[in-house]
Symmetry: C2
Subunit: 357 residues, 2 copies
């Protein structure tokens, strides 16, 4: 594993930064990026921060044909004191290596990768937007770079990190979204790659997402691939239901992505002594709870939106409105607490924040 010092080549010209209210997720990138190469004989080598620029790939590069690639998503938050906060970044690095293992990509030194991310954010610190709810999205990713058309793990890779200033996910606080339960397409199945943060899971979700978007739904709620019975995820978020006072979320089963926000929500709920369980939950049970007047809240959790209340759920021909289409009490409390911790305005009881020096 590399212990080389990270070389830094500064950009000679700086790009213009977009206004805080003009930020669109994932469209604008900062002045620099991080690259680390891998070759089978050498391991990971040549860590460097360089000006943000296109990369040159042979048309036979494996990632373009066989999708051997993994990624992560995290954010840097600017506090009122001018500090830069990362939220549980070590969890993302752990998950990156779990994804690597599933996708036959060599593991990466988690501490070194995190150090590289911190140095990169420091170099582009003036890109972190300061308006409420804005942040700097961090995208670490690994691509297989061997030019070879055989179906086999690549012998070469690039680990890269790029940064994108992002706006508040919701313009005014948090707003409930409309979700359609997906009955035809499947995101993942046990034994597949659902647990890994890898390209194919996202490519396979596009068709379902496009179909429901045309009907006015924001996201898809995925059911299990075996029986299309049990709830798995919402879009690219984990999902929670409050039923008769208890918060229920699908247990990790090999096809659900283990979200860092999901894990944080579970810890907060326990800390608050709110009953919570991770278990199989069928969409039938959710609908029955609704009919019995016991479906009190539903929400998704993820890095992008933090907490996303579900105001309406459509399954087959039946549409139900949850909590009168309003943000629930628990969802609001989780959102306020998580964002409060992230922006350094609330106590951080679990030491989730890593500050940049």
């Amino acid at each position: 594993m590399t212990q080389e010092a990270i070389s830094i080549t500064k950009a000679t010209t700086k790009k213009e930064k977009p206004a805080s209210d003009q930020l669109v997720f994932g469209r604008t990138f900062t002045d620099h990026m991080f690259i680390l190469d891998y070759e089978e004989e050498k391991g990971w080598f040549d860590p460097r921060i360089v000006p943000y620029q296109p990369i040159s790939l042979d048309p036979a590069t494996m990632v373009l044909h066989y999708g051997q690639t993994v990624f992560e998503g995290m954010k840097a938050y600017l506090t009122d004191q001018g500090d830069v906060n990362l939220f549980r970044p070590e969890k993302n690095m752990e998950r990156l290596n779990r994804s690597n293992e599933r996708m036959c990509i060599p593991s990466i030194d988690e501490e070194f990768a995190l150090e590289a991310i911190k140095q990169l954010v420091k170099v582009d610190k003036d890109w972190i937007p300061s308006a409420p709810g804005t942040s700097l999205y961090i995208r670490p990713f690994i691509i297989s770079t061997q030019p070879y058309l055989g179906v086999a793990p690549s012998k070469r890779y690039k680990f890269m990190v790029i940064l994108s200033p992002v706006g508040a996910y919701y313009k005014e606080g948090i707003n409930p979204i409309k979700i359609a339960v997906e009955n035809e397409f499947v995101r993942a199945v046990k034994g597949g790659t659902g647990e890994a943060k890898t390209a194919g899971n996202y490519a396979s979700s596009l068709k379902a997402q496009k179909t429901v978007a045309e009907k006015g739904y924001a996201q898809v709620l995925w059911l299990d691939g075996l029986e299309k019975k049990y709830v798995e995820e919402v879009g690219s978020m984990n999902v929670f239901f409050k039923i008769d006072g208890e918060i229920v979320t699908p247990e990790l089963n090999g096809s659900i992505l283990e979200g860092v926000t999901r894990n944080s929500v579970l810890q907060l709920l326990k800390y608050w002594n709110i009953p919570v369980s991770q278990r199989k939950i069928s969409i039938e049970e959710v609908y029955q709870a609704y009919k019995a007047g016991k479906l009190e809240e539903a929400f998704g959790s993820g890095t992008a939106a933090v907490i996303s209340p579900i105001g309406q759920l459509a399954w087959k021909d039946e549409t139900v409105t949850i909590n009168n289409g309003k943000t629930g009490e628990i969802a609001k409390r989780l959102y306020d607490t998580l964002t409060g911790i992230q922006y350094g305005v609330k106590e951080d009881p679990f030491n989730w924040i890593s500050k940049l020096d």
Copy 2:
């Protein structure tokens, strides 16, 4: 859809061609490639044959993160008369568009794409190897090229074609391979992307493939993702069993790739009046047939190996040897007929061959 003429820029220096007996699948590429661009506002535009060269991609290019990409695989064969034969290329173009549909990629004009492939092969005609069993592998593929981290269909794409001279898959005729039945990992499930020729299916297969390779098996036999009971595919080939005089292959079910060679095998068997059925077949049934002395042959079919006899099958703790580990009569006849048609030495009763002018 573009009707533009294809511009041709010839390479000023030519690469050295590898010797016919040194050809390794997918490692060497010819002097030229084909590119066609897509932008939402313009459709497909600027078809061009240019010197084989790296492409420049923004690090945020969608294909690197979300794997929205499809590909095809086909071959050009040089006959003793100096003709260049393509084998049912229109089937590959049809499948490319079926894959596009599943992956939310705009469809491509099949005739135009085929014309582009033919022109490219013509430009690099002297790269088609002439030794027995060798050919020029053709890899058409489409990648999503918008630099954007939102999970949505890309608004820009590149359709590209690259060529690679390939050796005989088997050095001396066809040799039976050892196959392990996969019990843990899943390739695809109905509602997923198994029917599409897309990157994620191949990325997800790497781990299982690597695991069985370490135990000395050439390929994995995939079972269905729901019950791990029914046979789906072998590695990246379709699979056939001869049981008590009848050839059985798994029916297309939404998770199996529809192979062009599979389709050709079915047509040939019907033409020869050999009983054949496409239906669900469990691995249990295959083993029972073996025990009853009725499992007469097993083989895979695909563009790379054409026909690949299965000499040994391992499922859980039970290993069975099929046809004494030798190539079966039907497998041999199919191999000889298909390669005979491809190289122009056998009659082509179905007009499968497209000749380059």
